[in-house]
Symmetry: C3
Subunit: 143 residues, 3 copies
């Protein structure tokens, strides 16, 4: 059963996802890689995106898609449940991306995530992104 | 007197408002209804909007105004005070709405709320919305 | 060494920064002044802005730059570390500003902060702002 989390575990999971956004947006790829389990699943199929299994494949793809962009991924109001060495959370999210060619994306949605504690440290084991809305603009196309 | 909250109560209230946003934006109206007291007061008069007394009237009105829109209500940095079975909070908020006809709204403000504990579960008893800014666009009218 | 914070201290620091945003955006300058140490350092040089030493100089400058604007500063996913009567945090942030002449700014970044406990109350002793992105528009110039 999932229970009410204690503060220490709740905080570690909140900080884990905070670092996810910060390392992603500051392009700290070594730090970013340290946040996931080896067999992490990243699933964006709900909004027409790809699905990755395995940390190396997932990070390589993320780097390719946003390495050249200015990005801000921001997370809000987590609903975290913890059961021993496993946990789940739903996070509200917003992202804003600007590519060098002028293309932009502003999106809103939720991360649905599963975490596991490995050798005392919480890691992201699964992350599924659902979208409320995505707005994109193209260069020279106005808003 | 209001006192410093313990983590368990603080977290329940934070999760309550997180579900408020998630159920509202995913249009889970049954889940949404379960978050309020029977006699909840929803007050948006500070920004020229309506004021509702009673859960059924409030939810019916909310549904009418945003059922067809894509919406994202996001909440930030709560200041929560708890006094026994009553609590208060101020939440920073941002909302982004897109109606089918192309109309959009982006707003910023604060929810000022009161909660009561009913049969062991915190409920929203009063919610007053103040605005820092609202920006709206009309279809065919550019920005 | 910095350690895992207890909930009471973590919450006081989270509430301190929540009030920072709320007082700043509602232009409650007396409340705002009470949040800082006398010798606070505000540093925005990382994004080409000024650096201030001392509460009075910092607040006077902030007032001059945004007193006439509608502003919303919102903060997310803090990473807080506490060591006795000193603490540090990194906050993700977003700000939206509209000046009376129609100029706008939307920005994303991080506050890197240091806090000290003075007579039992946490105060902001240092705040350094780094930016992921800043987007500005000028009146009559479109997007």
């Amino acid at each position: 059963m999932s229970g009410a989390p204690g503060f220490a575990d709740w905080l570690e999971i909140a900080n884990l996802k905070a670092r996810y956004c910060r390392f992603l947006d500051t392009k700290d790829w070594d730090g970013f890689a340290g946040l996931f389990t080896h067999d992490v699943v990243i699933d964006t199929t709900a909004s027409g995106g790809p699905r990755f299994e395995g940390r190396d494949a997932a990070i390589a793809s993320v780097r390719t898609s946003i390495e050249a962009a200015r990005t801000a991924h921001q997370i809000h109001s987590p609903e975290i449940e913890i059961d021993g060495d496993e946990a789940r959370a739903i996070w509200a999210m917003q992202d804003r991306l600007l590519w060098p060619n002028g293309r932009t994306l502003t999106g809103y949605g939720h991360y649905h995530e599963r975490y596991v504690r490995e050798a005392g440290a919480w890691k992201i084991a699964e992350s599924r992104l659902t979208r409320l809305n995505i707005e994109m603009t193209q260069p020279d196309a106005g808003v």
